[in-house]
Structures are given as structure tokens and as C-alpha cells.
């Protein structure tokens, strides 16, 4: 049986390169590569062994290759101290990496038409998914967005993998002017989409989920809530998710996600504790209300 448990490894950097306004780091990490499934991520320690930066930085796995026993690539933009440090890494430097983490994208049983929707760095997770879907005979169409042309991640790669690629940019410097959402309805209609996969900030995911619902097709959404450990020990990354039993729980985005079925995630309540969530101050009366309503 394959072992899907994540591992912690100190691994050498194989290469660092630029991809538009992003950096791509490839590390030699066979144990992560062999466990990886699409949608998972890595949690990287930054700043060296005695670093004062104690939270791990998490990045989508963008590519996995069999080279050197198994390499793993992630793509990131410089944001704060941690990603600045990462951008300075060079070949042969060692990185402390934990992965692969998180629940992967569920895959369709049959060859179906899939729309892959990604904004900026969120798109990184879609490329291994596209590969897998293609191998299973699925049709793949991409909708990619970003503030500017150089923030749209992976257009060239999407052209190789996708049946179609539509692009939207905030400033109109590539594709249509606007957000990725503006592309989704048209995409669903023209390519007879049967499943939507989206990886983007929560407000975008929410709108994409609404469009998918309008067309009555399932959507799998991947959130990027801030994470401290990535392994599930700290409870720092919770989002409200409705369980099979109809009860809302504060689920950890890192281990219970980051991929959720769109209808399970309470988009409007992300960042809050809904009053009826299990263990919220009002949850007991909410449960009783439901019981009364059902009895009545």
C-alpha cells in the first residue's frame, strides 16, 4: 500500500528561476514526490536553522518530476520576509520542507469536461491536476486571472495542457479586462463543463461556486487561508464547513482542506464563527431550534 503520510525532509535546491513575476524553486525530494497528489502543498521553514521566523510558509506544489529520483517545484511571489529569504536561495542550498500536505482534489471517475479556474498564485495547484485529468481522458479548459499580465501564472503551460485557455487581467494587459469570474460562465457554456475546479482567494471562489451552482455542476474549491504549521497541530487556519450530518464545524484548512466541495464551505462566514457552528456560543439553541422545527 502506498504511504500517503507526509514527511519532513531537508532537501537540496536544484534550481531557482523566474517565471514572469514569480520565482520557481525546484527541490530534490523523492519522498514528497512519490506521495504527492494534485492539490497538495508543502510547508517550508524560512530563515535558516536559528530563524526568528517561526511560522512555516506554505506553497502549492506546482510540478513533480521523476528527475533525480523525484523533484518537487513550487512557485511563489515575494511578499514579506519569508518569501524574500526564499527568493535568495541558490542551487545546493538546503531547505526544510514538510509535505505533501492537505487533502488533494477529488478526481472524477469517468472522463468528463473539467474547467480549471485559477487566479494569480492559486493557479499553481491546477497544473498537476490538469496532467492527471488529461491522463484520465478528461477534457480540460483553463480560465486564468491576475492583476496584470505578468501575474497570470502559467499561461504557456495551460496552452499545452488545456483544450482552451481564457485569460482575464485587472488592467487589461492580457486577455479580457476584468476578473477571472467574468470568464467562467462563458467557459462553462462553450466547453460543456461538467466539473469546476477553482483555486483562488475566497471571494473569487465564492462567485465561481455561485456560477457552478447556477449551471448545476459540482465545484471543488481550494482555499488559501493563512497557515502557521500546515500540519494540523495549531488550529490556526479554520473555516466553517458543513459536515455530512448538516452540522457546521470549524475545519482546519490545512488538513481538512485546502480543497472543499463548494456547497460545504460557508463562504459568507469565512473569517467568523457562525452562531450555529458546533461549539459556538449559540450553537446549542441553534441545534434545539432545528430539532423543534423538524419535530413540528
Amino acid at each position: 500500500m502506498s504511504d500517503f503520510r507526509p514527511v519532513q525532509v531537508r532537501v537540496p535546491v536544484l534550481s531557482v528561476r523566474h517565471m514572469d513575476s514569480y520565482h520557481a524553486i525546484t527541490v530534490v525530494a523523492p519522498s514528497i514526490a512519490e506521495r504527492f497528489r494534485s492539490g497538495q502543498f508543502v510547508a517550508v521553514a524560512v530563515g535558516g536553522e536559528h530563524s526568528s521566523m517561526l511560522l512555516r510558509r506554505v506553497f502549492s506544489i506546482h510540478d513533480v518530476k521523476p528527475d533525480f529520483g523525484g523533484t518537487v517545484e513550487f512557485v511563489f511571489s515575494e511578499r514579506g520576509n519569508g518569501t524574500e529569504w526564499l527568493a535568495e536561495r541558490r542551487a545546493r542550498d538546503l531547505l526544510d520542507v514538510v509535505g505533501p500536505l492537505g487533502r488533494p482534489f477529488p478526481l472524477p471517475r469517468d472522463p468528463v469536461n473539467c474547467a480549471l479556474v485559477g487566479e494569480e498564485q492559486g493557479a499553481a495547484a491546477l497544473f498537476p491536476l490538469a496532467n492527471t485529468l488529461r491522463r484520465r481522458g478528461c477534457r480540460v479548459d483553463f480560465a486564468l486571472g491576475g492583476a496584470t499580465a505578468d501575474r497570470v501564472l502559467g499561461t504557456a503551460q495551460a496552452r499545452r495542457l488545456g483544450e482552451t485557455v481564457s485569460v482575464a487581467t485587472g488592467d487589461g494587459s492580457a486577455g479580457t479586462r476584468g476578473g477571472v469570474l467574468d470568464l467562467v460562465s462563458r467557459l462553462i457554456e462553450t466547453s460543456r463543463t461538467e466539473v469546476v475546479y477553482a483555486s483562488a482567494p475566497v471571494p473569487v471562489l465564492r462567485s465561481v461556486a455561485a456560477v457552478a451552482e447556477k449551471y448545476d455542476i459540482p465545484a471543488q474549491v481550494r482555499v488559501e487561508e493563512a497557515m502557521a504549521c500546515g500540519t494540523g497541530v495549531c488550529m490556526g487556519c479554520v473555516v466553517p464547513v458543513v459536515g455530512e450530518d448538516g452540522i457546521t464545524r470549524m475545519a482546519r484548512a490545512c488538513v481538512d482542506g485546502p480543497v472543499f466541495r463548494a456547497e460545504r464551505l460557508r463562504f459568507g462566514d469565512v473569517g467568523t464563527i457562525p452562531f450555529d457552528a458546533l461549539g459556538a456560543p449559540g450553537w446549542k439553541s441553534a441545534v434545539e431550534d432545528t430539532a423543534v422545527r423538524e419535530a413540528g
Binding site: 526568528s52 517561526l54 511560522l55 495549531c234 488550529m235 461549539g279
Partner: protein
């Protein structure tokens, strides 16, 4: 020769002094891929309450220099899930469990302790940093008499062969007075320290970086280690025969030695696990190697050895 790592924590003899701190090991399952739970001294559970609890809204954490500010709000599934699901799993892995309790008054703490009756646990830890609803948002640990009442309730409800540790925080208290009150009330040992009140501000959102606010934000990590060491040192001087579980910024094997020399019988690793899920086993290895390198035969000989002499 391999050093003897065993340490005494009241009536319990731990195989070695490296434990996990409350709330930093998940249910144990999340940590198991990275750290052999049967190797480290014990796993302390997240503080458990009677009922499930959803905790604070996001954001719950912010990184600060060599530390982090967190306001989690004790999210957890409640004692029933701990007893039925998490504890049996820990036992099945050969892990030793310390259960941390959180309640809203002596009655509730006592009820929690009763529910642990007959289960195979190594110790009970009483988290006294919970807000006391009867005292305008003050915490039990802020009033020695209230803390003592809670400790007594737990001691009375816990089997005699299971040691009860009272976990204290350093904010706004006379620590020695508090420690003495807890020991007089029946605490077999003391856990020091909980997070230190702290705050971070997000300049982009112009809001507090943790939603729980300044009343709930707590600083942890190496940034608080000197504060924790001073607390351990002072309390050991006050009640030298009472075992202490020291914690606060432990990150390496030498940190363990520091805490033990200051008076701790064992140490717990918290934020270091958030940073490095393999920290438990790594720190134990570093500690063991450190003893070997120095020719120290018994870990227990370190306890309190920094006291006296040069004072």
C-alpha cells in the same frame, strides 16, 4: 554509557523529560508522521472542556520576532470525544498522555476530572488561564484563592496515583504566592508557563493581527524563554520539592538543560512543534547527546542545579 533519562513528576516516573505542551500536538495523529509519540516523555492534550467549543474567529495567529501571538479560544470537540476517540488512539500508539483541563469553575473542572477516572493517563494538567466567569473576565490564575479552589476540585476528583499539575501564567500575578496556593490546595506539581499577554497589529488591515483582541492574544516561542526560565527559577526556589514542568520557547536540547538547571523536572515543547513537527524527537536526541558529551549520567541530577552557589 547511555545516560539515565528518567525523571520524577510526582508519583509518575517519566521515561524522559521531553513532553509536548498543551495545544501543540493536535490530537497526536497530526504529529505522528513526524515524531514517534512513544519515544518522547508524554503528549499533553489540548485543554479540553465539557462541551465542544468553536474558538475564536480568524485571524488567530501572527508571527512576531522569535515568537508568535495567538488567540485560538480553546477550540475543541469536548471531553467525550477526547475520552472515546483521542485517548485510546494515543494509548494504542504507546504514547503517554497528560490531559489538560479547561473549565469555567471548580464544578466543571471536577466533572472533567471525574470523566478521566479509570483511563490510562500519566497526569492531569489544570489550565488555570481560563477566564473565570464569576470574576469579570479575570482568569483563575489571577486570584490565588480561585486557582486553589479549582486545583482542590481536580485533586479531589482524580485518582490518588495520578499527579495533578497546575499550569500557571505569569501575567499580573505574584507567581510565588500563586504557586504556594496551588500546592497547598493539593497540586502535585506545577507547569510553567502559559503564553504571555501580547499583541500584534496588521498595518495593512489596520486591525489587530489576531481577532481575539488584546485580552486574549498570547505570545509564545523563544521570545518568552527568559521569562519562563525566571518563572521556573523563582518557583523552584519557593517550593523546591514540587516538580515543575517548564515550558516557554524550548527549541533545542540545550534549552531543556537550561530549564532543568533552573529547576524544572521536565520540559514541554510548544511553538517549536508548530515550526518543526519533528521537534519532540529532535530535542530529545539533542538533549541525550548533550548529556553524553558532558558525561552526565542521570538527567534528574540537573534539576535545580543552578540554584545556590553563586547567588
Amino acid at each position: 554509557m547511555r545516560p539515565d533519562l528518567t525523571v520524577r513528576l510526582g508519583s509518575w516516573e517519566a521515561p524522559n523529560p521531553v513532553l509536548t505542551a498543551a495545544g501543540c500536538a493536535g490530537t497526536g495523529r497530526e504529529l505522528a508522521p513526524f515524531c514517534d509519540l512513544s519515544r518522547i516523555g508524554a503528549v499533553t492534550t489540548k485543554s479540553v472542556m465539557i462541551e465542544p467549543r468553536a474558538g475564536n474567529p480568524m485571524p488567530r495567529m501572527a508571527e512576531t520576532p522569535s515568537g508568535m501571538v495567538s488567540a485560538l479560544g480553546l477550540q475543541g470537540p469536548g471531553i467525550d470525544v477526547l475520552v472515546q476517540r483521542d485517548l485510546p488512539w494515543l494509548v494504542s500508539q504507546g504514547a503517554r498522555a497528560i490531559v489538560s483541563l479547561a473549565g469555567s469553575g471548580p464544578q466543571e473542572y471536577s466533572e472533567l476530572a471525574h470523566r478521566l477516572d479509570g483511563l490510562s493517563i500519566c497526569a492531569v494538567e489544570v489550565n488555570l488561564s481560563c477566564v473565570n466567569p464569576a470574576s469579570q473576565g479575570r482568569r483563575f490564575a489571577h486570584e490565588p484563592a480561585e486557582a486553589a479552589a479549582v486545583v482542590r476540585a481536580v485533586r479531589d476528583a482524580t485518582a490518588g496515583d495520578v499527579p495533578v499539575f497546575a499550569k500557571l501564567a505569569v501575567d499580573g500575578v505574584d507567581l510565588r504566592e500563586l504557586a504556594e496556593a496551588c500546592v497547598t490546595a493539593g497540586a502535585d506539581g506545577l507547569s510553567l508557563i502559559n503564553t504571555v499577554r501580547g499583541l500584534a497589529v496588521n498595518i495593512d488591515t489596520r486591525r489587530l493581527a489576531v481577532a481575539g483582541g488584546s485580552e486574549q492574544g498570547g505570545l509564545s516561542g523563544p521570545a518568552i524563554r527568559p521569562i519562563a526560565l525566571a518563572a521556573v527559577h523563582d518557583v523552584h526556589a519557593t517550593v523546591p520539592d514540587v516538580p515543575i514542568i517548564g515550558m516557554g520557547g524550548v527549541r533545542s536540547g540545550t534549552d531543556v538543560m537550561e530549564f532543568m538547571l533552573a529547576g524544572a523536572s521536565a520540559v514541554a515543547v510548544g511553538t517549536a512543534i508548530v515550526h518543526d513537527p519533528g521537534a519532540g524527537e529532535r530535542i530529545l536526541r539533542e538533549f541525550t547527546e548533550g548529556l553524553e558529551r558532558r558525561g552526565i549520567e542521570r538527567a534528574a541530577d540537573l534539576v535545580g542545579a543552578a540554584h545556590g552557589g553563586n547567588e
